[in-house]
Amino acid sequence: MERNIYAYKCKRCGHVQYPYRTICRNCHENDHNEFDIVPLPKKGKLLTFTHLFNPPSDFSTVFLSLGIVELEDGSRITGQLSIERPTIGMHVRANVEVVRKDEYNQYYGMVFYEA
């Protein structure tokens, strides 16, 4: 089964927002839950990134690579990078994987690889 991260498409104006907001940021007109749930595209362009050398204690790695990606439909997402030498503007593709585990839960999110 292919996993997705879902965004929220306003039923009134068609604007896609991620993460969820109760009111559409674009038209400000919709009522509660007037959204279609649509999967976010998985290809995009790396806008910026960092290698974090003091990651939170839930992570056992020496460093954690994080980035902001502009996806094909123009929406943006923050995600983890699994790329050795990332550069600004490079093309990336995402896989939805477990990005964090704590005592009780595991969380799925986008991990980006070189396209």
Binding site: T48, P56, R76, G79, V99
Partner: protein, 391 residues
């Protein structure tokens, strides 16, 4: 609205403090009361971000008002992330300006060193978007790293410029008894020498250890009151003339231009408009340099320099004490320290001290108009204050 004046100020050292949070809050209050001769207040606001989580204590204001034996005055705790301090000052301003209260005490206090560094960073990271940022391991340093990379690429800012902010603010802090870091640093030591990568390792690439503020405990206090009551203190009249606040998207990736700090721009504009001054009228500013890059960008967004010119002004010595617009004479968050909920009150404390001409060796000459920028989240909630000395 009535005009609002500063009657008294107080502060603790920003460092690791080995006494309870309630006392960290109470001592600056005591100092401010002693200095101003004010013995009773109508209302107390306590700015704090993490007591319930870090110190296992909720209802902090109720504890502080009793500790200072100021009951039955009203008391509220104000939480607005790292902008809690200036937010509490804003509440104090509104209370006096509206005529509801005549004398209000605003305290900011935080005790973060009760937990280890990782826990403190994780506590601050709870500011980020829970599903779109936090789960990925996003922390404030990582947001600053991503922001810095993009900004540096766009405007030609280098690690050297960032290090200059640190060197300047560490130098300023040498003359501030209450500062966390009394450690003069050089570009040689943190950037150029063979030991630099050991002295100053990368934390959130491209940001290094000396690009980040320390984790501090600390408290600060401001007593706000009416013109008539402020006159009785015998101190120079300093008016809180402008209060501006603005917000931005919760998740940083949602911003149209991720190198914009829109909330800083809007909050500063509102604060200046209310005070009836222009950025060029400001003589001294305390900006929220939790990360060195932020001092540069905030100095532009507040309107002191053109976009992309903040690092040039820094390099030319404009922003050091003795320059045309000294920024962070206290040492800033970088070297004075960053007890999150107390920081905004600490910034105001420094500006009042400067406008009173009581800042000693770090005094900015003829300072009449002062400005603070208190930055919450990664720029999603910003409060800017403008203070004017009259006469």
């Amino acid at each position: 609205m009535r005009d609002v004046y500063v009657a008294g100020i107080g502060i603790t050292s920003f460092t690791r403090l080995e006494y309870p949070l309630v006392e960290i809050a109470a001592y600056p209050g005591l100092m401010a009361m002693r200095e101003s001769g004010i013995k009773s207040i109508d209302q107390l606001y306590v700015a704090n971000m993490g007591a319930a989580r870090v110190n296992h204590q909720s209802g902090l204001a109720s504890a502080v008002v009793d500790n200072l034996s100021l009951t039955p005055a009203g008391a509220e705790t104000i939480e607005n992330g790292p902008a809690s301090g200036a937010s509490a000052i804003k509440q104090g301003f509104l209370a006096v300006a509206s005529g509801m209260h005549d004398t209000v005490m605003v305290i900011g206090a935080e005790r973060m060193r009760e937990v280890n560094n990782l826990e403190a960073t994780d506590f601050v990271a709870t500011l980020t978007h829970p599903m779109a940022e936090y789960i990925y391991g996003v922390t404030l340093p990582s947001l600053a790293g991503m922001f810095a990379r993009l900004y540096m690429e766009k405007y030609g800012v280098t690690s050297r410029h960032l290090a200059m902010v640190a060197v300047k603010n560490h130098k300023h802090a040498m003359d501030n008894f209450y500062a966390h870091l009394h450690e003069e640093i050089t570009l040689e030591g943190i950037l150029d020498s063979p030991d630099a990568s050991t002295n100053n390792p990368i934390v959130a690439d491209p940001l290094r250890y000396y690009d980040m503020c320390p984790v501090s405990d600390g408290g600060a206090c401001l007593i706000l009151t009416t013109a008539d009551l402020a006159k009785k203190t015998g101190k120079p009249m300093v008016r809180l003339a402008g209060v501006g606040q603005a917000t931005d998207t919760h998740a940083v990736h949602d911003r149209k231009d991720p190198t914009d700090l829109l909330a800083v721009r809007e909050a500063a504009k509102k604060s200046f408009a209310m005070a009836g001054v222009k950025p060029a009228d400001v003589h001294v500013a305390e900006l929220h340099d939790a990360f060195t890059i932020l001092e540069i960008v905030e100095s532009e967004e507040a309107g002191f320099f053109e976009r992309g010119q903040g690092h040039v002004a820094l390099q030319e010595g404009y922003t050091r004490i003795g320059g045309k617009l000294p920024i962070n004479p206290s040492g800033g968050l970088k070297a004075k320290g960053h007890p999150v909920g107390a920081t905004g009150v600490g910034q105001a404390h420094e500006i009042v001290l400067q406008l009173w001409s009581e800042a000693g060796k770090r005094q900015v000459k003829n300072a009449k108009v002062g400005f603070t920028c208190n930055f919450g989240g990664f720029g999603n909630n910003v409060v800017c204050l403008t203070f004017i000395r009259e006469g």
